[in-house]
């Protein structure tokens, strides 16, 4: 009964078997089989077996089926691949494969497939393809051979080179026996992942096979129909195979493509039909095929219609009573959310997903809901999603808290329109789940606060308030200490947060903190000495106390000694220089994102990022998600320390190296020089003790133009400026061109700013405006030449006066030539002077609009364009773009509130042209229809072309 009794009994049995095997009397086949079988059983009970292998191998060469069978079973379950027996086993297998006895052959193939060791691959990789494609092989042997080969390929791909058998294997997809097709499909799928080219003919065969299955009646396939679903396993496998390839080309193989689309539509249609059986097996099999079809649709990511249908179908599953379906629907929707075609459709389910977060009883389902919320988040719903995630965090399972913290931190940063909201969110995170807030998260909030001066005062105030709580998390003390050390002065005017109050508040937490945090607080104190001379004596007293100066921790002791000395010896100037406010951090990939990627594996997060990126920059701006202070300006004083070239290194608190401090103290300028080379080394040694050494990871500047090698670039940024008058037109390593323009009726003025980004002069600097002969008759541009030398770091301005003579299509080109350091530079960009700039908005009532609309009904006057949305279909952004385009946006004119209508007049020197426009979005299909009616055909065409580019 008891555990001991069991072990005792088993040991007795083992001893018995051992003695039988060792005995003088040779065992007959039957007894051998019996004992080998017993050993196997004991092994399966969970006990180690270290003998009997030899007897099992002997059984392999028996001619009795049962004995052979048990021998093979023992080998399959118990043999380990480095066993010396493998040669004997392989020999027996070889004999059985050659025996022409189908049952023996079957056993041998099963054994290879189950063991699949390297030695077996070496021995049989040549033989098995022959069995697989030979004309006289039995179906069951073909099936086994296909899966054997697959197994060997998985363990040792290099030992299984695809040969001339590849094309014949592909043709097994046409085999009459569905079991053969099923096994072959598994094999081809795996092989095609590595050698897509060799197996590409499988695509059309798989599509036609799939098509025959999905259109067959449920009885056609006889025993391959499973609970009224025709061949579900094979269907799933075929759909998997197709996921190894891009969608069949529309031009090259329209028939295949059409047939596949039909199949997918049929599968989606069937999901809507009433179930043929109430059994869960029926629905599982049917939905297994459906989910695999959706995976394929997502993989292709090319048919907006199918993607949206898939999304709607999954939406129904979100509320299904089967937990399994809810789980899978959430998971599958995550992938849909990153497709630009279905992102909006996924967003409509936000409430259901939030409800799932609150009501699902299974943590793995809640986890999927969190993933989906993260994937569907964009600027329009970020506040809601972040709030929901924060409130879920209070009760979330410990196992997934850290991940949620990372996700919230990323979303809050990415979609922060208002950085006070960002700061609040992160402080909430620390309050709710401080233990799960990793270093990356609090480093990041500090980087952002330092880089954005508009939020610094708020951050200081908020951390100060949060620190008032009697028990606050150590991470909050870190953030608070750092931020007050940098920006405490911004709130010091209020007597409730005077310098002394700030200091006392921080110091009250000091003794509860770990060594690294204390070290950070000491740095804050020395920064206070600089910020607030009035608390200097208090701080010096603290530094001087035994608990600091004689602290057992070397780092703390050293800091206390050095800071005390610094505060006593250094002049205010030096203090101010050494304890200068931190320079902005260089922009780089968020370290939190990197961490999440590492945690989740690259797939998920990357997918999201790429999906979002495809939608391109948001024309009408709003602040970009990442703080855009890409052009970091190292504070001038940093140069004094020789650090100008290395802005990321904190110029703030002195590094804790004694030698360095001495250098700083000696006032003579000559002593400053040797500082620079050593400084990097010193910073590198700071470890976690000093204020956040800005996060690890490669420095990359997000603004890719800055890294462009050859400075000669012609960029077409025209679409960008169609709805905007100001911005950066061009930028490379040397030169930045900014624009500011204003237009009134048919006149305009444009200010062009040329910025020299280098420290060297530009010589012979000559910008030229080029209009083609044709354009000159429509557009008149006047400007004065600029000074031919542009000093390093300087900016020159050029004014262009513009007059629109008559409507035009082309854009003028701005060509700039100059010499930089001996090389000749040439840059050409199109100037964004477009016809719509001469638009004057016209307000009108619904009645007038439609009256004029009818008046402009001749075919030349109307131009229509139907196009796919290139950006998220956000109503507010669309409105802003129409207004930016120059026309009036007429509300409550169109009977369909989803549509946009606009009206305006284009002014030229000679005429005025009335324009009406109507934009009809189709969210389902992610398409727009844009109609323009003006009194002049060329104007209609040009405006339509310009505006179509915007959505």
């Amino acid at each position: 009964k008891s555990k001991e009794a069991e072990i005792k009994r088993i040991n007795k049995e083992l001893a018995n078997i051992r003695s039988k095997f060792k005995g003088d009397k040779a065992l007959d086949g039957y007894s051998k089989k019996k004992y080998v079988c017993k050993l196997l059983f004991i092994f399966l009970l969970g006990h180690d077996i270290d003998f009997g292998h030899m007897e099992a191998v002997n059984l392999l060469s028996s001619n009795r089926y049962t004995e052979k069978q048990i021998g093979y079973l023992f080998i399959s379950v118990l043999v380990n691949s480095n066993s010396e027996l493998i040669r004997l086993i392989n020999n027996a297998i070889k004999n059985d494969l050659a025996s022409r006895n189908p049952t023996f052959m079957g056993l041998a193939l099963h054994c290879i497939a189950n063991v699949g060791s390297r030695e077996m691959a070496e021995a049989f990789a040549g033989e098995i393809p022959k069995i697989l494609v030979a004309g006289d092989t039995m179906d069951s042997a073909k099936q086994s051979a296909a899966l054997c080969l697959l197994r060997l390929y998985r363990t040792s791909p290099h030992l299984v080179p695809t040969g001339d058998w590849a094309s014949r294997v592909v043709h097994l997809l046409n085999d009459q026996h569905l079991g053969v097709v099923t096994a072959a499909t598994s094999l081809i799928t795996t092989l095609a992942q590595k050698n897509p080219e060799e197996f590409k003919t499988s695509v059309s065969l798989a599509v036609s096979r799939l098509s025959r299955i999905v259109t067959s009646a449920s009885t056609d396939l006889q025993d391959y129909t499973y609970y009224f679903v025709p061949a579900p396993w094979l269907s799933v496998k075929l759909l998997r195979l197709l996921q190894c390839y891009p969608p069949p080309g529309e031009e090259i193989r329209p028939a295949v493509r059409g047939r596949l689309t039909e199949c997918l539509e049929t599968i989606l249609n069937k999901a809507q039909e009433p179930p043929k059986s109430k059994k869960v097996q029926h629905s599982n099999a049917k939905n297994a095929v459906l989910f695999e079809a959706i995976s394929l649709i997502i993989h292709h990511d090319s048919e907006p219609n199918l993607l949206v249908r898939a999304c709607n179908q999954l939406g129904q599953f979100l509320q299904h009573r089967e937990t399994n379906l809810r789980y899978l629907a959430l998971e599958s929707m995550c992938a849909l959310a990153s497709s630009e075609f279905s992102h909006e459709a996924v967003k409509t389910h936000i409430e259901t997903v939030i409800a799932a977060l609150k009501t699902e009883r299974d943590v793995s389902v809640r986890q999927r809901a969190v993933d989906l919320l993260y994937a569907m988040c964009d600027r329009s719903n970020a506040q809601q999603i972040v709030a929901e995630m924060l409130s879920y965090l209070e009760t979330a399972d410990y196992s997934i808290r850290e991940e949620i913290v990372l996700k919230v931190a990323i979303l809050a940063e990415k979609y922060a329109v208002d950085y006070t909201w960002y700061v609040d969110t992160i402080l909430n995170l620390i309050r709710i789940a401080g233990d799960y807030v990793s270093e990356e998260v609090w480093y990041r909030v500090i980087q952002i606060v330092i880089n954005r001066d508009d939020v610094q005062g708020y951050a200081a105030k908020t951390v100060f308030e949060s620190l008032q709580a009697p028990a606050c998390h150590e991470n909050l003390v870190k953030v608070g200490g750092y931020i007050l050390g940098e920006f405490g002065n911004l709130i010091a005017g209020d007597p409730r947060s005077s310098p002394l109050v700030q200091f006392n508040l921080l110091h009250s937490k000091f003794h509860l903190c770990s060594v690294p945090t204390r070290a950070l607080l000491l740095s804050t104190y020395i920064k206070f000495v600089n910020l607030f001379p009035e608390v200097k004596p208090t701080i010096q007293d603290v530094l001087r106390s035994d608990s600091q100066l004689r602290n057992a921790d070397a780092e703390l002791q050293q800091r206390a000694v050095e800071y005390l000395r610094l505060s006593t010896v250094a002049s205010t100037d030096i203090l101010a220089t050494v304890l200068e406010e931190m320079p902005p951090f260089p922009e780089r990939e968020s370290s939190i994102l990197a961490k999440l990627k590492k945690k989740k594996g690259p797939g998920t997060v990357m997918g999201l990022e790429e999906g979002k990126r495809e939608r391109g920059p948001d024309i009408n701006g709003g602040p970009e998600p990442a703080p855009a202070s890409a052009t970091s300006t190292p504070s001038p004083s940093a140069d004094l320390l020789g650090l100008g070239a290395v802005p990321p290194a904190p110029a703030g608190p002195p590094p804790s190296s004694g030698g360095l401090l001495v250098d700083v103290f000696s006032d003579s300028p000559s002593a400053v020089a040797p500082l620079a080379p050593g400084s990097e080394d010193n910073f590198a040694r700071q470890g976690p003790c000093l204020p956040p050494t800005p996060d690890p990871g490669p420095v990359s500047i997000p603004c890719s133009e800055q890294n462009l090698g050859p400075p000669v670039q012609c960029k077409v940024t025209l679409p960008w400026f169609v709805c905007k008058n100001n911005g950066v037109l061009f930028e490379n390593q040397l030169l930045q061109i900014g624009l500011k323009s204003e237009f009134r009726q048919n006149l305009g003025r444009m200010f062009i700013f040329y910025g020299n980004k280098t420290s060297t002069q530009f010589l012979n600097f000559t910008p030229t405006l080029i209009c083609s002969d044709d354009l000159q008759t429509h557009l008149s541009l006047q400007t004065k030449p600029v000074d031919p030398t542009v000093d390093g770091g300087a900016q020159v301005q050029q004014v262009v006066n513009i007059e629109c003579v008559s409507d035009f299509t082309e854009a003028p080109v701005l060509n700039i030539q100059f010499r930089y350091g001996g090389t000749f530079q040439n840059v050409s960009v199109k100037l964004p002077i477009t016809l719509n700039k001469f638009f004057q908005p016209t307000e009108m009532a619904s009645q007038d609009f439609f009256q004029r609309w009818k008046q402009l009904s001749s075919p030349q006057q109307e131009v229509q364009n139907i196009f796919k949305a290139k950006h998220p279909m956000d109503t507010e952004i669309t409105k802003a773009k129409i207004i930016g385009f120059g026309s009036a946006l007429l509300e409550e004119v169109d009977p369909n509130p989803a549509n946009f209508v606009g009206a305006g007049i284009i002014h030229t020197r000679t005429t005025q042209i009335g324009c009406l426009l109507r934009l009809e979005p189709n969210l389902q299909a992610q398409m727009y229809r844009l109609t323009l009616r003006t009194s002049k055909e060329t104007v209609s065409q040009r405006l339509c072309a310009l505006l179509s580019e915007q959505f």
Binding site: E6, C37, I70, V77, Y226
Partner: protein, 162 residues
């Protein structure tokens, strides 16, 4: 006693190939961990769980839990039905199968599995075809050895079939 069958699609870790019985406390840490995870699931929870870098699909039939370990890309629902089809095959072969059938005839359970799944992939989904293959083998067995299962290991197993 509970039994867990593992049918790993690809053998990433050194689990015993094909499937294994786990009675009470399995020895290997990895299987013990998995068994504990699965047994901790409550009814009505979803049948899929992430475990290490795999997905576990499991289904309970009376006192037996059947588990499959699959990879991220694999289809969960069809895996559930792989389990069900296997149970159907056992049921058909043994005639309303119970735990003890599987324990005392574990080798048959293996043979049926080998016909249905091979190397972790579906080989033959037709119930008829699988059972036909097994019956043929059984016939062969009858011809060669007329002696019945006198060697059964029942004497050492009854104690563990708790």
């Amino acid at each position: 006693a509970r039994i867990v069958f593992l049918l790993p699609q690809h053998f990433h870790f050194n689990l015993m190939p094909v499937f294994l019985f786990v009675l009470q406390t399995p020895k290997k840490k990895i299987t013990r961990e998995l068994v504990q995870t699965v047994l901790a699931r409550k009814p009505k929870m979803c049948s899929f769980l992430e475990w290490r870098d795999l997905k576990i699909v499991y289904k309970r039939y009376a006192s037996l839990y059947f588990c499959c370990a699959i990879e991220d890309q694999d289809n969960e629902l069809i895996t559930l039905e792989i389990i069900h089809r296997y149970v159907e095959l056992l049921d058909k072969y043994f005639g309303s199968v119970c735990e003890l059938d599987i324990i005392f005839n574990f080798e048959k359970a293996y043979f049926i599995l080998d016909e249905f799944l091979l190397g972790g992939e579906v080989q033959e989904t037709s119930k008829k075809n699988v059972l036909k293959a097994i019956e043929q083998a059984d016939l062969l067995q009858e011809e060669v050895s007329v002696i019945s299962h006198s060697y059964t290991v029942s004497e050492i197993t009854l104690k563990h079939a708790r």
